[in-house]
């Protein structure tokens, strides 16, 4: 698996990370190396194997479906870089 420039840019876009032109070259090499390493798995026969969905053999505990938390909007927006009253402020999205 060889990662080319187009793929680096596509993944970076999907990941919402801006990539500078100067970084494309080393990212190509590093991502190729990591994907080459994980390709070792292709030699394992997993045809009749179920994927692991939980690290422990236990069911999650159900809880009553009730509101049991909340009511502190001040705290929720307390760490926001830009806020107005109880709103998170972002650049204009709708014209």
């Amino acid at each position: 698996m060889k990662v080319d420039e187009a793929l680096v840019r596509r993944i970076a876009h999907l990941a919402r990370i801006k990539v500078e032109d100067a970084d494309v070259e080393h990212l190509k090499g590093e991502l190729t190396s990591i994907l080459g390493f994980v390709d070792l798995l292709s030699e394992v026969d997993t045809d009749d194997v179920e994927p692991m969905t939980s690290a422990v053999d236990r069911c999650m505990k159900p809880r009553p479906d009730v509101v049991n938390d909340g009511g502190y909007a001040d705290d929720i927006v307390g760490n926001a870089p830009v806020k107005d009253d109880h709103y998170f402020m972002v650049p204009k999205v709708v014209e």
């Binding site: 793929l7 680096v8 993944i11 970076a12 999907l14 990941a15 919402r16 990370i17 801006k18 990539v19 500078e20 990212l27 590093e30 991502l31 190396s33 990591i34 994907l35 390493f37 994980v38 390709d39 070792l40 798995l41 292709s42 394992v44 997993t46 194997v49 179920e50 994927p51 692991m52 969905t53 939980s54 690290a55 422990v56 053999d57 236990r58 999650m60 505990k61 809880r63 502190y72 705290d75 927006v77 307390g78 760490n79 926001a80 870089p81 830009v82 998170f88 972002v90 650049p91 204009k92 999205v93």
Partner: protein
Amino acid sequence: MSELTDLTIASARKGRTDKEFSAKELCEAHIKTIEDANEGLNAFIVTTPELALALADVSDQKLQKGIGGELEGIPLGIKDLFCTMGTQTTAGSHILDKFTPDYESTISKNLLDAGGLMMGKLNLDEFAMGSSNETSYYGKCLNPWKRNTDGANLVPGGSSGGSASSVSARLVMGATATDTGGSIRQPAAFTGTVGIKPTYGRCSRWGVVAFASSLDQAGPITRTVEDAAIMLKVMASYDPKDTTSVDIEVPDYEKSLAGGVKGLKVGIPKEYRMDGMPEEIEQLWQQGIEWLKAEGAEIIDVSLPHTKYALPAYYIVAPAEASSNLARYDGVRYGLRVPGDDILSMYENTRAEGFGDEVKRRIMIGTYVLSAGYYDAYYLKAQKVRTLIKRDFDEAFTKVDVLLTPTTPGPAFAPGEKGSEDPVEMYLNDIFTVTANMAGLPGISVPAGLSSEGTPLGLQLIGKPFDEAGLFQVAQTIENAAGLLPAPDKWW
């Protein structure tokens, strides 16, 4: 008063109850060592001496009344991945600039409720991604141990590098840490400390900054096995706020310490004997086998055939989960925001500036393996391999009670020595530890001797699910045989 910092948690607890010293004196002695050391070691991202002294006063009042908790007045460090109410929590990342939680993680709350003193927040690899503590935005943390061959400064391991370094250097008596692929056990091995990653679900993950949710598990780093048992008992709990937290009683781990290993079946997995493994690691392993045999354990060779696939599978599962977990850092709700022309460029600029190189690499790998058309080939395949890895362990544990392996494939290295050309070189550090995370099993690293370079080496024990008590029992036997390491020579 410097000798106060040499005490173990167990002996400090006794001295404090016998009124040989006050919690305040113990706290002040540690504040002094932290002030002297932090410039050289960079173990703390932020120190909280005022908070610690205020807590120590409360501890002294409680001790006066005879109502002190399990860890009353014991100076502890908290890895800066645990949210602490009113104290900045950075995860070692620029993207969490100025983030100050309004809540306390369940584990740090358990420790505070038991009377523990928080001395500050400890350095780590950014978002716990790394094996050397070199990826922290707040600078690398150093190992108090130096190589005697060339006198080089060394990494403390990672990601819990600050936790391991501060405990080893006597800045705190114990520290919280987290382990997604080896981040408790590998730094413990590199610094001559004890580190246990409990069974997945034993400790609550609530309030711990998430890296890979199906693998992350917190545990303590301490200087003795007994101290690890004391600390884990307080840290572990059932927590309704973490749906993967398991509701079973926390045993009194201290009671299992004297159990010994007579008649115990100890498995030696042949796949952990890797090509190119240094001779001294092999010798250490053999020494561990001899120690346990001498105490009456039965040594049994076992096979875990899928061992070599654990690390590649990890580098699909962990980045995939990380890319999902770290999607929340977008400059909107907390932390860093870098403006852009529109909302998309604001996201992209914020994440480009806020994340370091290793974190970006892992987010990108994770994004790729989860993207349309590749999910089955990578993520699903890795989760199937995980089933096979777990099955290997299940099979082995029908024959043995515990497994003994080296913790790391080599001793601590110097900053810049590994992974600068190829990230995979750094990843190989976790080759012996990552299997326990993939299978959700408990693992402990115990100091077992020194390398030819005069630096600590660790042996690892892997146990059955929720058999932390069994691990402590065997680990204590190894510690008795190996003897405690001396304190590292102070150069900082």
